[in-house]
Amino acid sequence: MKKKYDETYASSFIKGLTRLTGISESKLKKYAAENNLFNVLEHPNIIEPNKQQLEKIHVLNEFISTYKLLKLQEKENKIVLNSSTVAGEYFVSLLGGIKDREKFMAAFLDSGNNIIETRTLSEGSIGEAVVYPRMVLKAALDCDCKSIILAHNHPGGSLTPSIQDRDITERLVSIFAPLQISVVDHIIVANINYHSMAERGSIPQPSPKSVSYNAMPLSDIKNVKEETMDFNADMSEKDDIDLDNIDFLEQDGEEEDEWEI
């Protein structure tokens, strides 16, 4: 029965995608027979679409992200970013569709992890944006927040944090620590995937030496080569894995990925 129900979903998805993009149903069915069907949204080139079809898939992806964000907003008056997963999905919906420039944002949270305000703090070129710590500080003090989640996109598609990404995180952690404002995560978005530095345990400790208010460039070019697999990037290809059998990184209990402030 479950299989039939799954087939219903897959069949609806294929029918809708064919109507919207013109990609043939048989091509999608053939792909779905041996692969995870949803890969076609995440990695559209695998089904070799033409330029027009590829553009349509990109627009559809952007719409789906916006839809999910609106659903979140409609469900609750306030959006609660209480885990890296929710924060990741939230910023994917805001940054996932941006391919032509880097954009640096921050969500300022109250003590209940409700978003007080989300601001764009910098927008740059395709490979670089400049972050001004003074602007982040001013925005945080203006809204009297208790914690901050940083986020920016990598238009180049890499999910791995660059050296500059780590530096700016450390600098902001160090600036806010004496004010008892925690920088709880830094989310990096590429396409519809994200990397959470908190989830990987790579949020730096505050260091007085790092306190500086000079502008800092962010770049997705010089990535730190320490990751073996990008979070989320290939999970869709591993749908047949029983998730109960996976030992998630630093995950001991159900609420492990919730923020500890």
Binding site: K4, L17, F38, T66, Y67, L70
Partner: protein
């Protein structure tokens, strides 16, 4: 709170514009979609698709988006249509069993 409303409104407009780009339709259709989606909310908009006055062509495209969202597990279908789709699928998969 005002900031919240403004952001939400911007997101509704963005969603409508993306649909307009996807469907390659004129701006008046995009505005019509925007009005409906803001009035009903994104989820209810798709659930109530049949009740709006869209042209057959636009309806078909919106329905295609709804099918994709439904396929991804989103609750966008009215109950009556879910029953219909499920029954159709079961009929078509079980029909061939009779030899």
């Amino acid at each position: 709170m005002l900031q919240d409303k403004t952001n939400k409104q911007k997101d509704y407009e963005r969603a409508s514009q993306l649909l307009g780009r996807l469907f390659e339709v004129d701006s008046d259709i995009t505005e019509q979609i925007s009005r409906c989606i803001q009035y009903y909310g994104a989820v209810e908009f798709f659930k109530n698709l049949e009740s709006f006055d869209f042209s057959a062509d636009v309806f078909e495209k919106l329905d295609a988006v709804r099918l994709v969202l439904f396929g991804m597990g989103e609750e966008v279908m009215p109950e009556v249509l879910i029953d219909e789709i499920t029954t159709q699928k079961i009929d078509s998969t079980e029909g061939g069993a009779e030899q």
